[in-house]
């Protein structure tokens, strides 16, 4: 079902929820930027599977993401981290599941799971590479280095996402860290190749169910 939640910047944002008022409540932080569309179907199926296992889940749009009308270029990793906490509080969800680069937004003190976490510099490098390749195709020479230097102050459009300067600078330096009460789930725990490798959005129901099962087991333990 859909819900609305009040973000810190004053806007109302959309959330996809499986909320039956149950005891186990989990906020889901989706993959970032170019990976978000690729993994959305998978993410929602993980939530649906968790619903069947008796777990409430909440997938909030953060300002600038998905259906949000807030400009992406005004957002930073820090502002997003604050928003994640606000969403978790609003929904009364003390547990967190992060998907890929969503791990960079996870509140340090909230327990939960990190599925296939990805560092900011790695994802940024891929996005920069795509930009340099497509500029080359258009007959324009750009370099990752010069793009970054400009990007850190002026911001940059990468993979169709308009990122602000502070976002680029923070993203570049961000690495996922596992704190106490948090568990990493590797792609090898699900089997098969990660869906983020696909050129186009795709889905794997077995992987989604496996991820949900690992989390459900963890909750039962």
């Amino acid at each position: 079902m859909t819900a609305v939640w009040p973000s810190l910047d004053g806007s109302s944002e959309y959330a996809l929820t499986f909320d039956r008022g149950r005891a186990e409540r989990l906020v889901v932080i989706p993959a970032l930027f170019d990976e978000s569309n690729k993994l959305r179907h998978f993410t929602v199926e993980v939530m649906r599977s968790l619903d069947q296992a008796g777990v409430d889940t909440f997938l909030p749009d953060l300002p600038g993401q998905n259906e949000s009308l807030a400009p992406l270029q005004d957002q930073t990793l820090s502002s997003w981290r604050d928003e994640v906490l606000a969403a978790a509080k609003h929904f009364g969800a003390p547990l967190v599941l992060t998907i890929r680069g969503g791990a960079l937004l996870a509140p340090q003190h909230l327990p939960g799971w990190r599925y296939a976490p990805l560092g900011g510099s790695s994802q940024l490098r891929s996005m920069l590479r795509a930009r340099v390749l497509s500029s080359k195709e258009a007959g324009q020479q750009e370099s990752q280095e010069s793009l970054l230097v400009a990007g850190r102050t002026e911001g940059l459009e990468l993979a169709g996402y308009q990122l602000g300067g502070s976002m680029i600078a923070e993203f570049e330096a961000a690495e996922p860290a596992l704190c106490e009460g948090q568990t990493e789930i590797a792609q090898s725990d699900l089997g098969g190749p990660g869906l983020w490798l696909r050129a186009e959005p795709d889905h794997n129901q077995d992987q989604a169910e496996k991820l949900a099962a690992i989390i459900a087991e963890g909750l039962a333990a």
């Binding site: 795509a130 490798l197 050129a199």
Partner: protein
């Protein structure tokens, strides 16, 4: 595709065959194809410019995956249309780089 040579039946203790196997595995994962489907790719099978799903973001992902699984580093200025145009061209590029390591 019927006249193209498939390399997937060469001996496996051979570095070139190993590169071929790694690269086919990556293409399975990037294109969402089965091993059987990718086994049909020959040297002349068209990639970038021929497969609509291989846009610049997908190629970036492909190159990063190649780097991660083969240990080579691919500089942006080494990437051109020719090296990505066919399976054979990409295979040749990766083989050469692996020998340099």
């Amino acid at each position: 595709m019927a006249n193209e040579t498939a390399l997937s039946d060469t001996p496996s203790d051979d570095p070139i065959a190993e590169t071929d196997r790694i690269l086919r595995g990556i293409l399975c994962d990037v294109l969402g194809l089965s091993a059987e489907q990718v086994a049909l790719f020959g040297l002349e099978t068209g990639l970038f410019g021929h497969l609509p799903e291989l846009d610049s973001m997908a190629v970036a992902g492909l190159l990063t995956e190649i780097e991660d699984r083969t240990g080579i580093v691919i500089e942006d200025d080494e990437v051109d249309g020719e090296m990505l145009e066919t399976y054979g061209a990409l295979l040749g590029f990766v083989e050469t780089k692996r020998q340099e390591v």
